[in-house]
Symmetry: C3
Subunit: 196 residues, 3 copies
């Protein structure tokens, strides 16, 4: 009975987290919260859904701010093995961590289009000094680990806390595809400046 | 081995329930089953997605009859801290319980817009005697409990079983927001009069 | 502690599979991967969403290639208790197994519209010899088992491996409804001919 109680407790906690957008952590880049893709490097045009453009943004670029529900193809394809996506957050925050998610390799048609080495930059848009771009984190997406991988922001607790409302996910390399790289979802965690 | 079997059994049962619309219980108010929002109190117009109107119903009002997939913002915002949503069920039923669901506070941007004290009324539409509104249940949505909270209908086994095809979710108070209250999802459980 | 570790391991594996489209197995018939419904027997027209036609295919026929998220009604209704749906796969494959999925009976309004006895045929479209239709498998969907039921292809390891890019799900009977049969989702598993 004690064992059953143990097991149930762990199951309920994990399913609760799964039901809470998978991670149970606030995401200031989620589309349903008002975040937007501002611009991106050239999209992969041989993709099945070509998408129309609005400003600098292809219609399917918003997929990077939406859940994928374990479905292969629910991503935004960038041309080549380098590129970027710029995202306006829901509101200005002190960033704490970035999550990059790809589809499970168990259901992927071609895992070579997964992102590999990435950098994430952050800044406050419409700031007078537009030079203040901060490197938030730099990481390698590991195909052997879980689908959603979270990386802490470098030195987030420094005495000069960074406040940002825009990020750039910069793709430095992928897992082998010469033609394109699929971005399934990026999330931005942190807190509002007036919160602890 | 016995412990593994125990654990697996619990996990499979819980995941099965999670995959069965979260609760594993028939919902006569689910949009995909044909339920509809008939009318509602004034919607919160500062919301990101304004929505168009059809009759008395704003386009995003149907969100209260659809799953939210753990996404903040997948709700219908009512203006203020009181209000109502009227729902025509898929078919006439003997009501047994009501479920109110909110997004997990672990991913919510502002939990103060969650509903708090609610009443649910039920009636049979187009009945000659339009006075027959029944108070089905009255409850407080508790932010410390699970995201989907189910409340039994008061005295559902009385000798005069109630049959209804329409409900009103009446919002009496929320968890603090002066401007609006978000309704993520309401479900209505019961059985058809000819079923046991 | 050891027990907790056991339980957590099982939970994480099961939730990982759940998050990987439910099965953790590549599906060459998934809509987001580029598969399409080519044609189908007469659809059930009394259904709530009538759908428009394009060629031989009603708009809601694509539901059979998409996830249902545990929602009753997220299916394609065929008229009567026999019929078929033809699906063009994402690419040509050596088929290994077929999965048929229905909504959980715990949330279904009417389980009598579930498929029962089925056959699945496969062929390579645009082949010169159009007679080469292969019976891939024949099975009975069991209402007492899990919602997604997988059936191996008959003799998939024969010396003449079959290569197909199109399948027909043929409905031979259902669980009792005289009017219609709901197809929630069909999946096709296998590998590309150049893969092991
Ligand atoms: K996505
Ligand atoms: K919802
Ligand atoms: K479906």
């Amino acid at each position: 009975d004690e064992i059953r109680a143990f097991a149930r407790e762990i199951v309920e906690k994990e399913i609760g987290k799964h039901a809470a957008d998978g991670l149970g952590r606030v995401d200031y880049a989620v589309a349903s919260g008002g975040a937007k893709v501002l611009r991106h490097s050239e999209a992969y045009s041989a993709s099945r859904v070509m998408g129309w453009f609005s400003g600098n943004v292809r219609s399917d670029a918003m997929k990077v701010l939406q859940p994928s529900f374990g479905q292969p193809g629910e991503c935004f394809p960038l041309k080549g093995d380098t590129g970027f996506v710029d995202v306006k957050l829901r509101t200005a925050i002190v960033p704490e961590a970035i999550t990059l998610e790809h589809v499970s390799k168990s259901v992927a048609f071609d895992i070579s289009s997964a992102p590999k080495h990435c950098k994430v930059w952050g800044w406050l848009q419409n700031e007078e000094d537009t030079q203040k771009e901060h490197l938030l984190t730099e990481f390698t997406y590991d195909l052997e680990k879980s689908v959603a991988q979270t990386f802490n922001v470098l030195d987030p607790k420094g005495e000069d806390s960074i406040v940002i409302d825009t990020i750039r996910l910069e793709l430095m390399s992928n897992h082998g595809s010469p033609t394109h790289t699929c971005i399934y979802r990026v999330r931005v965690h942190g807190h509002q400046p007036n919160e602890s």
